[in-house]
Structures are given as C-alpha cells and as structure tokens.
Amino acid sequence: MATAAAPAIDRFDPAAAERDLLARCERLLERALALGADEAEACAAGWRSIAVRFEKGDLKLAQVDRSSTLGLRVFRGGRLGFSSTNQGGDPALEGCARDAIALSGFAPPDAHNVLPRARPQAPGLALVNPAVADLPIDRAVDIGRAFVELARSADKRLSIDSAGVDTTSVARAIATSRGVRASESDAQVSLSVFGMAIDGPEVGGFHYTGDSVRRLADLDRAADAAAREFASVALGNLGARPAESYTGPVLFAPDAFLEVFVSPLVSAASAIAVQRGRSALAGRIGEAIAATDLSILDDPSDRSLAGATAFDREGQPCGRFAIVERGVLRSFLYNAYAAAVEGRESTGHARGSPRSVPGLGAHAIAVAPGRGGHRANLERALDRGLYVQRFSGTVDPASGDFSGVAKSARWIEGGVVAGPVRETLIGGNVFALLPQIIALSSASERCMGEALVPFALVDGVAVTAG
C-alpha cells in the first residue's frame, strides 16, 4: 500500500504516467522471473477521469477518479498463470506475482503458450490533446448542461432519462521478458444521451446515442449530431403501430447493421474461433462470403475512432488490416496464441484490459461506404418494408442465427417513411444473408465513436409482426 495521499484533481502528464507504469511493469516482471517464471508479461493502465451525470434533464452527480491497474501473465513449462491488482505498492506487486506463479503450477502445459517477440513499434498516434486531458470539472459540467439543453430543446415531449459527459485520460504500458517495451497515452471526451418522447399517456420507445472525440474542436459537431439524432428518433417512435410479416429486404441503420452483421462476422474471423471449430468462416479465406459491395477494415490508425492505438494488448504493432475486401474474406485475426498454433506471427489483435488474460478481436472497425447513395435512395429502393434503426436481440456468432426485436423501426411505404412500428421481430442467418446485401449507402456513419458503418439494404430477412 502506498503512503502518499492522492491529490484531489490534478493534471494528466502522459510522459510521467507512462514512465511510472513502465517502472511498475519492470518491477512486476522482475519479481515474476525471480519467482520462477520462464516468460512473463506485465501490462498496466492508469487513468484520470471526470464523469458528469444528468437524470431527467437535471444534474445528478459529478465524479472524479484516478486509479491504475496492473496485470501479470506468466508461463512456466508452458503452463499459464495470471493475476492482477490495482494496488501499486511493493507488497501488492509481490502478492500479484506470487498468485500468478502459484496458478501456473496447476494448469496443464500448452506448447502454444508463448509471448511474441519484440517488433519495431509504429510511430505513436499522438492521441492526447491537453485541452481534453486536463478538462476542468466545471467545464465538463458546462459541456454536459449545454448538451442536455440541446438534446431536449427540439420538442417539449422529449424526456431525458440519463445523459453524461465523461473525460478519460489514460496511459498504457507493457513490458515482457522477450523485450517488448511499449507505452502510449490517450485522452477522450464522450457524450451520451438516453431517453424517449412522452405524449400524454403515450410513452415512446427509448433511444440512446453518443459519440467520443479527442479534440474539443470536434465536440460541438458531435453534440449537435447526437442531439439531433436523439430528438429525431425518440419523437419518431411515438405513434407506433403493428407492422406486416414478410420475408424479404430490410433496411438497416449503421448501428443495427453493425450489431446484426458486422460484429458477428468479425467474431467469426477470430483465428481462435476457427481453430476451435466454432466459426462458419473456417476454410473460406479467399472465398466470396458477402456481396461485392462489402469491405471491412480494422483500422486502429484512424484517430477519429475510440479504439485507435499503435500496439495491441501484447505490445505488437497494429495498423490497417483488411478482413473482407469486395465481399472476399481476406484474413483471420491472430493474437500470439492463435498465431503460435499455426506457426505464424500475430496480426496485432490481442485485446483486453490489464485485468484479464489477453483476448482476441478488432480494434476499430471501418466498413467501406457503398454506391447506394443517401439513406433516402435506399428507402426508395426498398419501396415497401421495414427500416431497423436498432437491434435488440441475439446473434450466435458460431451458427450465425439471429433473432430479435427491430427497435426504433419504421415502415417504408412507396419509398418513404410511413411511420413507426412496434413489436416487430426480425430473424435470419448472418452468413446466409451477407451475399444478399443489395446496397450500402455512399457514406459511413459514426457508431458511438467506435466504428464507421454505412446503411445497408439486405434481402431475405424474416420479419414477424406482433
């Protein structure tokens, strides 16, 4: 346990924070090796955050936090052990190392339990803007208050259940016994709003949206876009009526297309899912798996996306990576373990926090725009049917089966929005429907700051009206 008191709200110094975390990683690494680890990896994150929460349109709570966490992965004779702690003192680091070493005595050996070699690091992405990193709490309150006013000013029927402004400045570091040394810092400010419209006795379905940016100059645009979307969708949810049942084309908004199709496809492209027999994409590299309009990149070099980073959870460099190009499956995603199974190098897709063993996944998904024009063009192409803005349901990434409720859904009649619909379920199979993408819009939209995705018109979807 440290002895110095934490200062109340202080400045974020990225260089100092990274140095401190790297030094703690080195100490943890040293202890693990001294206790008998063959290989060890110490990973750390430290952050300063301010959160301002609003409920019912009024301020609820302001919160400040400063904390850090360290994780240690060790291999002994190919056996895995992992431990993490948020305590920074030497006794806690010693305890963390002893826990990981003890665990590594019990697991069966696995020849693929190896740490990746050190590789040249890509240049840093300069993700810290001091104006964001050191945003004072009273400024965050002002931003939040203005955002809430903007979100509800469009119509008195709008009710904001909750809204928030979060600023997080984080430093990350990693050190391994194979010579990996990497650190970087990031600072983001994010906005979110959740609520609905209420008209007399009628309560409309809720809508939530938000964004995350790294420059204060981008904040007004983000707030304006989020407020407009919230008002438009929440108000549009009033007066919902039953839809009609059919099987055929459905128009998906970017958030819905991401959740139903893109995320499950990316999950199925995990090399571990393939190696373990739970991916429908096994053996299909180089094959057309989707309509030719569909191209999916993982692009952690895009600083406009929340997942931007120069290196992955194992300290491997990462950059633009094609998963699907013009409908053809190009590559699976690998972390060090999956790569070792196939005797190849990691693609830099280890994911996760220092609190757990590294996982595997994409950092920042960017679906390329198509040639379908604006959303209105796709509505005209649909002519008559369902437009889904949000999906609330289940997608099994192994089988590809999906089933769920079309939320904030609209009925399209004569190529234009006729009105909202309720109690409408959609179902199908992701992998069967990917080739049935009719068109993608000509621009990709931001999905909560985490992905870029276009609108998509997809044929063959089963629609069940209540």
Binding site: L61, V141, D161
Partner: protein, 469 residues
C-alpha cells in the same frame, strides 16, 4: 487463499469523524475474483484479480459529488472526501432541483456474513481447475458431432464496509460462484450450440442445487446435437408456457426495469400507475435482497450500498402495482421508505437503483396440467439475453422451444426471441405453476455498470409475440 480482511468500518468511521460536515458516505470495497476458463482442452484463463478501494459520496449544496481512491490509508480517504466535495461544489450551479437532506432511515450496523464464504475460501483452486478440465472433456467427448466445448468457473469474494455520517456502520462479506459449460455441434455445415449456466450467492450446494456439474455438461452437449436437426417455430402472437428462467427474465427485463424509480421519474410506462391493475390477479411480483423461497439466489445481499438493509419489496400484489424500487434520494422524493435497492459494482462506481432477486410468486398449477390445457402453443425454455424499453416493450431470447398441440408436447425446435408489452403479457396470464426456481443467477444486468442479480418464478401460461421463420 488469502485470509479475509479485518473489519474496515472503524477506520472509515475514524476518517469520517475528522472530516465531518454534511452528508458523507464511505464505502470500502474489496473484490477478489478467481476464474478459470477452458476451451477444447486448452486453459484460456487461470486468473486471480484483486481490486480494492474506497468510494466517497457526499451531498453538498443539494448536489451529490463522488470520488474514489484505490489507496485505503486514512490520508487518501480524506483526500477523496475533499475531491468529492469539490466535485459537488463545482457542479452545484448546474443542478436545478436541489436534493433536500436525506430523511432518517433504519440504517444497518454490524457484521453481515453470507453463507459459503469460508467454504469457498478453503477450496483449493487446483481442485476447481481439475473439475473444469474434466467437464469440458466430458462435453467434448459426448458425441462425434461435438466440435468443441468450453467450461468456465468463477467466484467473486466481496467485502464491503459502509459508514455514513447519519449512522450506517456495516461490514458485509459474500461470495458469488458461477459455472458455465457449452458445446458446439456441427453437421453438414450447420453449427449449433448448447449452453448451461448457473450462478448463486453461497457455496457449491447452492450453485449446483438443481443439477450437478456433470449433468449440466451432459445437457449442454446433448442440446447442441439435438438442435442440429431441430426446425424453427412459426412466428406470430401465440400462447406460450414460459419456464421459470424465462419468467425470471420477464420479471427482470419487462417489469423490473420499468419500476426502478429513476426510470419512473423519467416517465417509464409504470409512471403514475401505482394502485392500478397492471397484471392478472394471479400475479404477485417481488424484489428482495434475501433469497426468498429457495436458498442461494445470485443477487442476494444483506445491506445495500447506501447502508440500508436490503429487504423484500412487493412490486405487484394480486395484479395491482403497489411499489417502485428506490434508493434514499428517490424515496425521499416519492415520500416513501427506501427499499434498499442502491447498488454499486466496484468501489469507483456511485450507487444506482438496481434490482436484487426479482420473482413472481408461485401459484397452484402443475406443469402437466398446464401443458394439457394448451390447444395450440409453445413451451419455451432457456434464457438468453433480454432488454426492456421505456414503453414496456421487451424482448428476450430463448434457447429451446417445443410446439404444443392438443395438450401434447411435440419435438424440439430452435429457440427464438419473444417480445410483447410487459403489462399486457402479465394481464394475459392464465395459469401460474407451483414449481418455483431461481434461474437467472449467471451473468450480469447492465445499466451503466454491471450488477449481479437473480430472477425466477414458476411456469407461467401467457401470450407473447414469437419471432419465427
């Protein structure tokens, strides 16, 4: 395994006495997690994590401020009190409707230990790892159609010390074990998955109270294989027999969230309906910090994160909406007693209104009687995810379905999602079964921060919208 910590409440009370002034709530929270995950014979994760800190909430100038520290010595806790007060003062000008001082409440004092803590603390992790490896192998080897299997076990030990300036001084200890086994079957390019999960508050006798781990592994594997040759239900508005797991998710998602007072204040579909009939007279629906009717419910807690005893609240009594779920602030605004529903996930989270164990009270019908009474409908089982909307519209996933025609159960069908309006579905209830189960103790409820909850009930005959093909 490390020995439990000593009572932190004296230290918190001492710090508080030196930083007196206004309302202050100190919450020490130590969370130690041991988890193991195995897939296809490979140990993906064998880990221990320990995270400890103190969360501080103050009410100053009619505004709440919150700060946390991951250091537990007095100077750091005092610094966090200052930071929380600074946050409250800096934001007070943005608060229009100032929070009045919290009314006196029957706050908890003393030590509250849940069962199972010492039992699981004494359990060697190598024994647990051996069990997880054995059950994954059992599931994987049970059929040539099984391509892979996975098995995971985790246990979360939580110690909390809650001290408030108006009298709470409680130290609680509990453990929440969770077990999951899944199998993936493949045939002719078709992939299906069978999953069994259980979660509890307590020891292994609670966790495996309905079925042993071997039986759960066998069931998951068999279900994956059986689903390969299963068809889909037809969609539409249909009569269904919901299993206790699905009744649990109905009570939690479709009703429970709409009666959380923060959501009510924003205008949820339950707003203004106190005293009104919202369900069939057969329905009594409750939320409790205790494990009512059967032991081990996964959302059990003795004291909530505001220091209140986490008692039982009737939400719907004989079909009439009689209460919302409250924290201290919302209770004061509604002029009622708080219900002990304030919960925080970790030390650096501020408490929110959350459910604990939510259930529909059992009735008197047997399952066989209920099946025999259905001319045309479905029996649904296996809860997947769920979500509710502000307008009461809900959806949740089911894993398995069986068609019932002329009182007879047909072959297995694939589970699909169901939807409906919460109160309409509760009004449509025709029969309430007498067999009761807690069945939602695994996984988490999400509402900005996770929370361990449980839910359950009896078999229920009602009408919903089924998403078919």
């Amino acid at each position: 395994m490390k020995a439990p910590s000593s009572d932190p409440t004296d230290l918190l009370a001492d710090v508080l006495s030196k930083k007196a002034g206004g309302f202050v709530e100190l919450r020490y929270h130590k969370k130690r997690t041991r988890s193991i995950a195995v897939e296809k014979g490979r140990v993906d994760s064998a880990q221990i994590s320990e995270h400890t800190g103190v969360g501080v909430r103050v009410l100053e100038d009619g505004t709440f401020g919150f700060a946390s520290t991951d250091r537990t010595e007095p100077a750091s806790i005092a610094g966090a009190i200052d930071a929380a007060r600074s946050a409250a003062r800096a934001s007070a000008r943005a608060r229009t409707d100032r929070c009045p001082p919290l009314p006196p409440a029957p706050l908890a004092r003393g030590r509250f230990d849940s069962p199972g803590v010492d039992e699981l603390l004494a359990q060697p992790i190598e024994r647990t790892l051996e069990m997880v490896l054995r059950l994954e192998a059992q599931a994987r080897g049970s059929s040539t159609a099984i391509q892979s299997a996975a098995c995971a076990y985790s246990e979360v030990f939580e110690e909390k010390g809650i001290v408030t300036s108006d009298g709470a001084k409680a130290w609680t200890r509990l453990v929440r074990p969770e077990f999951r086994v899944s199998a993936v079957a493949q045939r002719d390019g078709e992939i299906q998955r069978g999953v069994e999960t259980v979660g509890a508050t307590g020891g292994w006798d609670c966790l495996f109270r309905r079925a042993g781990p071997e039986a759960l592994a066998e069931k998951a594997a068999a279900r994956a294989v059986d689903l390969l040759s299963a068809g889909y239900p037809e969609g539409g508005r249909v009569k269904v027999l919901l299993s206790p797991a699905l009744v649990g998710i109905l009570t939690h998602e479709a009703v429970g969230h709409t009666v959380e007072a923060d959501f009510v204040q924003a205008g949820s579909v339950a707003a203004g309906k106190l005293g009104q009939r919202v369900a069939s007279e057969r329905i009594t629906l409750c939320d409790s910090g205790a494990s009512e009717l059967l032991p081990g419910a996964g959302g059990s807690l003795a004291v909530d994160d505001e220091g209140l005893p986490a008692g039982r609240t009737e939400i719907i009594r004989d079909g009439i909406l009689v209460s919302y779920l409250h924290d201290r602030e919302s209770a004061a605004r509604f002029g009622v007693a708080p219900t002990g529903n304030a919960r925080a996930w970790e030390y650096d989270h501020s408490p929110l209104i959350r459910m604990r164990n939510t259930y529909i009270a059992p009735g008197d019908a047997s399952l066989d009687e209920m099946i025999a009474s259905i001319e045309d409908g479905y029996l649904l089982d296996g809860a997947a995810n769920g979500q509710a909307d502000s307008n009461g519209e809900f959806m949740f996933g089911t894993r398995e379905a069986w068609r019932i025609t002329h009182g007879q159960r047909g072959p297995l069908l694939r589970g699909v999602n169901i939807s409906g309006q919460a109160f309409e579905v509760l009004r449509s209830v025709e029969r309430v079964g007498r067999e009761f189960r807690w069945d939602l103790g695994a996984g988490h409820c999400g509402k900005g921060q996770p929370a361990k909850v449980d839910a359950g009930g009896p078999w229920l005959l009602c009408t919903v919208v089924l998403g078919g093909r």
